[in-house]
Symmetry: C2
Subunit: 234 residues, 2 copies
């Protein structure tokens, strides 16, 4: 079949925004860019989409090549298409984002390109429009976390309530009321209390909890249950 | 500056998913495709992105050229990038979506390319992956409407509670409880009751309401107020 008429073809890239949580802080995985321009500056994990490659596969390949990470669940954020966003040549970038438990992936993280976890609160200057991408990704995270209990993806199997509380405060950039948070959280009955305590951060210690996975997966995609009129106009 | 090495450049298109509401039904604006392949089949409003053009401008231009519609607020949905989605040549499509009040735009709608409002419940077969795009757009609409009162964008200045109720049922594909809906809606105090009634659809008639715009705009982007713990785990 004939190709389309003389339309412009555009370079297409992928950028991966990988959020991680280490129990205390929300972090972002960054590397130092390996090619000119801006070589050596801090960057998201990026690369070009190949002619025969789907976007999801391209995102997984680029993340694996630059960081060693595999089987990370990523969602597409959106396309960033300002004609001047890359000074070399017009490059459309499709951004993907993920949430991971930092400890779960620390053995996989390859050192070839020196990927580093950097606190979201203290990001260095990033190349091109990457800071804008991070801001949009954080907004999407806030949206999704408001309707799904998806922040549990960022936590280890056993976690404490103060850890979860820190995570919510970090994602929403907001001081929350601790007592209210605990009460609502426990009344949801999604958590199973464990016998042992975490004692590194306080003398009294904090009990570990595990997620009730059966209930969690049942509700994870069922955001209709949070809906509609009750919450919308409150 | 030198261009990037021998990377593949890809054709980039835009597709516009325009939802409209006419007081009773949720509809989608479609046209019959003007070029081969699939010429004459039902399609979203689509076209190619030009080399120097931003994505938002491209979306507005394509919508204007094909339908006459201008100043429609659109949001980017996401990129659709399956290498085989277009049989002629790999074409990446960036989909945009919008919500409009059908009556507000009926005078603007140009007849050059025969755009038509089709009920979402009775869509004809669409070309390529356009049906998939519509499904994803509808999900996004459900998400956003759960956190913002944005469905009012779809309604005329004066509307009745039964119209709003129909709209929510259409967006969520779900039978809702009418009394519960009314109670929650009115308790939000976002609406101002008008003196006149709509009488076309029932003998008793239904009072018209207007949105309290000051309150509406104050809350429209403030989804933190719907958040966090109270609704998440309910």
């Amino acid at each position: 079949m004939k190709k389309y008429a003389a339309q412009s073809r555009i370079l297409v890239a992928i950028d991966c925004i990988i959020f991680g949580f280490d129990g205390a802080e929300l972090k972002l995985l960054l590397i130092q860019r390996g090619l000119e321009p801006e070589k050596g500056k801090w960057s998201l994990m990026g690369g070009f989409v190949e002619q025969e490659e789907g976007l999801e596969n391209a995102a997984a390949r680029i993340l694996r090549q630059l960081t060693g990470l595999e089987n990370v669940y990523m969602e597409q954020l959106q396309a960033f298409g300002d004609p001047n966003r890359d000074p070399v040549e017009r490059t459309l970038s499709i951004a993907w984002f993920a949430l991971v438990d930092i400890h779960k992936y620390e053995k996989q993280l390859s050192d070839d390109h020196h990927p580093e976890w950097v606190p979201v609160k203290k990001l260095p200057p990033l190349i091109f429009d990457h800071r804008h991408m991070v801001d949009i990704a954080k907004k999407r995270l806030q949206y999704k976390a408001a309707l799904h209990p998806l922040l549990f993806e960022l936590l280890p199997d056993s976690f404490t309530i103060p850890q979860l509380f820190n995570l919510y405060q970090a994602v929403y950039d907001k001081k929350l009321d601790k007592r209210n948070f605990n009460r609502k959280l426990l009344s949801a009955k999604l958590l199973i209390k464990q016998k042992h305590k975490e004692k590194a951060n306080s003398r009294r210690g904090a009990f570990y909890y595990k997620l009730d996975k059966r209930k969690y997966y049942k509700h994870r995609d069922a955001f209709m249950s949070f809906l509609p009129t009750r919450n919308i106009f409150s």
